[in-house]
């Protein structure tokens, strides 16, 4: 117990890194999600194929393997990012594939007449998506996006093995200097829950806010 209370600052700094990692990765994931979902519904077959290839590659690879590949493999080709940035890129890219699929299902839930009306007014494909279809698609995918965000919070722990000092890595450090795995990892688990549990409530709140009368 004391090992936790005596080291609250260590947990705090780990949690802070976890939150930064989550926020940046999720922003990246949203960006990638929009781009890939757009490609997936594009009239251009090569774009659709590229979108599908991205989604299938990411969904069928363990994220930890992608991280190792990025951190240990990529430098061999001369490209090198800091550990933190590497983690953001991989977690964002990974989550982005799932965001894309969520968005795509949201897009197909928007009645086709909405896009037809937009196109009949002279909006191009991308403007139709941007101003008419995506805003409506986002509303229907708030719950899945909330779930993806929650999963991302937990997935940031994958950055521990590559040496990003987020919550799990800090807990690990503490456990080597002052071994007390039960309390240390219980505290870490609790810290994750403190972040993820309110997410469900926030998601429901946002959902109510944006769900206007139809």
């Amino acid at each position: 117990m004391n090992v936790v209370l005596d080291n609250l600052d260590v947990f705090g700094s780990g949690l802070w890194t976890t939150l930064k990692l989550t926020a940046l990765s999720f922003l990246l994931a949203l960006g990638i999600g929009v781009v890939v979902a757009t490609a997936r519904v594009s009239p251009a077959a090569p774009l659709r194929a590229a979108g599908l290839a991205y989604v299938e590659t990411v969904r069928n690879t363990p994220p930890l393997v992608l991280l190792f590949l990025f951190v240990y493999g990529l430098p061999k080709t001369g490209v090198k990012y800091s550990l933190f940035i590497s983690a953001v890129l991989v977690l964002g890219g990974y989550t982005g594939a799932f965001v894309a699929e969520a968005l795509r299902s949201g897009i197909s839930a928007v009645p086709i007449g909405q896009a037809e009306a937009a196109r009949s007014l002279g909006l191009t494909f991308t403007k139709t998506l941007r101003y008419v279809v995506l805003p409506q698609a986002f509303r229907t995918v708030i719950p899945p996006l909330g779930a993806l965000l929650s999963a991302l919070v937990r997935n940031t722990s994958l950055a521990a093995p590559i040496g990003v000092l987020e919550l799990t890595a800090r807990a690990g450090q503490l456990n080597t200097t002052d071994p007390n795995p039960v309390w240390i990892y219980l505290a870490a688990a609790a810290a994750y829950m403190v972040v993820t549990l309110p997410l469900g409530a926030v998601t429901r709140l946002v959902e109510r806010r944006v769900a206007v009368a139809r």
Binding site: P43, P111, G113, Q114, E116, A117, A118, R119, S120, L121, G122, L123, T124, K127, Y131, V132, P135, Q136, R139, V212, A213, R214
Partner: protein, 259 residues
Amino acid sequence: MSLAPQASAPPASTSQPLIVLDKVCKSFGSHEVLHDIDLTVDRGEVVVVIGPSGSGKSTLCRCINRMEVASSGSITLDGVPLPQEGRALARLRAQVGMVFQSFNLFSHRNVLDNVTLAPIKVRGIPRKQAEATARELLDRVGIGDKADQLPAQLSGGQQQRAAIARALAMEPKVMLFDEPTSALDPEMINEVLDVMRELAASGMTMVVVTHEMGFARTVANRVVFMDGGRIVETAPPEEFFANPKSERARDFLGKVLSH
């Protein structure tokens, strides 16, 4: 014959027809939906298209702004063949207003935003100016007081009038109507038809698919009767309704006029 210089630029603004369909065919897979459609629409003309369900009326309408791509034949608007795709096609569509049976107002935007979206995002008109024009148009169709409401808060007739205002905001050369009153409760049909009458009187070129025979009789310059993907008969309304030439048109009129 005057010696005044003939308009040398190709879109000779008055003499040339606005829309020309030449031998247009359209198939979905092996199912031929339009067969050798020849149709010319002059400036300011109101053409009403009627015919039984499945005869290809909607498809014809949708081919004119290339929402459906004709399988063969040619379509020109103002002397210019319809562009294949991309920006040029978007520019063409901006000149062709379309009104749908199911209104298709953007459900996440209020009525004013519905009307201003395309002028702002497609034509780059400043918001203020677009809103002023939009309010005038909403007044013109009689729903000026609904500008700040969401589409779902409007009745069907009001939604359809908003949709007409939205299309007009792009200052189209022609308006296409695909059964604009078919989804409306009977008491709302006339408020929409009145707006269309006013539009026709203002000189707008219109292609109207409808089952409203009263509208066809009184507003149309020409009635086009379709059946089985072909134009079976085309005539001025008084002639068409008084003595349809084809058996199929007689049949059809017998059915629609009897109830």
